[in-house]
Structures are given as C-alpha cells and as structure tokens.
C-alpha cells in the first residue's frame, strides 16, 4: 500500500532577497540566485553583439570559457520603457545575465504568495510569486524565466552562425 507523502508543516521560513529596479519598476530576486553583480561597463569589453530573430531583449553575449552568458535587457523582457541598465546580475544555474537599473536594497521575505490564478500568460514564467513588503507588493522573479529553452536554442544557433562567419573571415584573410 502506498501512503500519501507527508505534508510538510508550514514554518515561518525566511528568504534573503535583493530588491532591484528595471525602468523604475521594483522587483525582487532571491539572493541565492544571484551569482555575481557586475557593472554593465565592466562587462562591455567582453561582450559580443548577437542578433537572434525575434529575441530583441538579447543583444550581447559574454563568453566565459566554454560557457556563453546572454545579456537580457530587463526592460525589454518585461515590456517596460527602454532603459540603459547600469548593473548586471549573473543568475546562478542559468545562462542569463540580467541588465537592470540598480539595486534598491537587500531584505528578507517571510512569505511568498503564489501568483494569483487570474494571471495566466507569460508572467507565470516570469515570476515565482508575489511578496508583500512594507505595505508594497513586489513580484519575485524566476531566474530561469528570462530565457525559455526555445529562445536559448535560437540564441545558440545565432551564436554558432556568427562563429562560423567569423571563422570564414579568418580563413579568407591569408588569401587577401
């Protein structure tokens, strides 16, 4: 006979979060999901331009060994007014570096409420849920929600194409 899995008792667990802004809009991300915080300028030297059809939110990629990090413009991802972005969050266990305006503060959330069921489109991929902090409601982003597997495949294809073009140009050089 199989028994139902025991229900975990609810405890008041807390989670460290970083409050950040994109185009003036406040968001939260678990601090455990952020591997690095870099200034956008510090990455600009290593960033290479990329263009994948239909993915306007990614214009640059950064190579780190055999790994490529795609720089996602947070404002374009969320459909907000275009902003330059001053900081980058390199998100752990993803291939995303998120371009944001800046960090507001670090704080603790005690309760994450699931996104209400009325929200039924892309935002379900964007957010883990909502949290109430100081009488304000803040959406908590899902690090893996910035690039879907389809988008990653398109970006990888664009990257491969750009590498092949670069190699072809290199091969042509001695002949010139």
């Amino acid at each position: 006979m199989r028994l139902a899995a025991p229900v975990k008792p609810s405890s008041a667990k807390t989670e460290q979060i970083i409050l950040f802004r994109v185009s003036g809009q406040l968001f939260a991300v678990s601090s455990a999901s952020v591997q690095e915080v870099r200034s956008a300028d510090s990455m600009s030297g290593a960033a290479v331009e990329i263009s994948a059809p239909g993915i306007r939110k990614v214009r640059y990629v950064v190579r780190r060994g055999d790994r490529s990090l795609f720089i996602v413009n947070g404002a374009m991802h969320f459909g907000l007014h275009a902003a330059e972005g001053a900081l980058l969050f390199v998100l752990r266990k993803t291939r995303t570096a998120l371009l944001i305006d800046g960090i507001d503060k670090m704080t603790t959330m005690t309760r994450l409420q699931a996104l209400p069921l009325s929200f039924c489109h892309e935002e379900r991929q964007w957010y883990r849920g909502l949290t109430a902090l100081d009488q304000t409601v803040v959406p908590v982003v899902k690090p893996e929600g910035f690039l879907s597997s389809e988008e990653l495949a398109l970006l990888d294809a664009a990257l491969l194409q750009s590498d092949n073009s670069a190699s072809a140009l290199e091969e042509m050089k001695p002949a010139q």
Partner: protein
C-alpha cells in the same frame, strides 16, 4: 407566495458599473471594500490592473467594465471581492464597481444559447431586466494554467 415559489428565490448582489446594473450570485461574494492602492507590475494578462492587499492576501483587480460596457470606467467607489473558481481551486478577485451594492432575493431566468458566455442568467428587479454575471467566464484564468499552478500553491517562502 407559495412555498414552491419561495424555493426558487436566490440571493444576488446587485452592482453598478456606470449607469448599468448587473447581478452576481451572493454566494460568490466575500465583501465590498473601499478602493485601496493598486500595486502594478508587468504582466501580459488583459483585464487585470494589478493587485490589492486585503486582509494579508494579495488579490488581483479584474476590470470587467470594458467587456460589459464597451468602455473603461475610471471612476470607482468600491471593490467587490468575489470568489472565483478555477476548477477545484478558489481565489478572491476584486472587481471595481462604481456604486454601492445591494443584496436582493430574486428568481433567475436561465441564460439562452444566444447570450454571451459571461451571462449566467437574467433577473427582473425594480422594472429592470438585469444580467446575472458568471465571473468564471468574465475574468481571466484559462483552465490550462491550473495544473501548472496547483504545484505552485506553496505559500511559504522556500530558501
């Protein structure tokens, strides 16, 4: 009135949107509250304005005026907090209304096939014929998201 006729009566909440009145089954209504701050954040679901905080809950604000009146109403005096069903799950939603609500007992005539999907039926009150709204059809939340979301119902933060 006969006992049989009394049994047909159901409780409805009459709400006002602009110049028109609509009805919702009273057992779907939690409360009527004064407007509070709407928290907005990016999303792609139409008819949703944002969320309000009510009794520690985060409640989505579903503006139904455009569907019902063909235009958005900017003036609002209250939020009608209703219970919206999503399959077996239930959640509160806040519907902005422009006037005070009224509780009445009336007999509902069933909707016909030609009525819009959000019409649950009709009732007659004070010389008016009033649409009874089916909030489950009127407010967003497609069935396909239910399975996904049931897994995300954990309300406690997970570090």
């Amino acid at each position: 009135m006969t006992v049989a006729a009394e049994l047909e009566l159901q409780a409805f909440v009459l709400l006002r949107l602009g110049e028109r009145r609509f009805a919702v089954s009273a057992n779907q209504i939690a409360e009527l509250v004064a407007p509070s701050r709407v928290f907005r954040f990016p999303h792609r679901t139409s008819k949703l304005e944002g969320v309000i905080l009510r009794r520690g809950r985060i409640v989505p604000v579903c503006d139904v005026s455009e569907v019902l009146l063909g235009k958005r109403l900017t003036s609002r005096r209250f939020y009608l907090i209703a219970v919206r069903k999503y399959g077996t799950l239930k959640e509160w939603i806040a519907v902005p209304v422009t006037g005070e609500c009224e509780l009445i007992n009336s007999e509902m005539m069933a909707a016909s096939e030609s009525d819009a999907p959000h019409v649950a039926g009709w009732l007659s009150h004070d010389g008016d014929v009033i649409e009874v709204l089916n909030l489950d059809m009127l407010t967003p939340g497609p069935e396909q998201t239910i399975a996904q979301v049931a897994a995300l119902q954990t309300t406690e933060a997970r570090p």
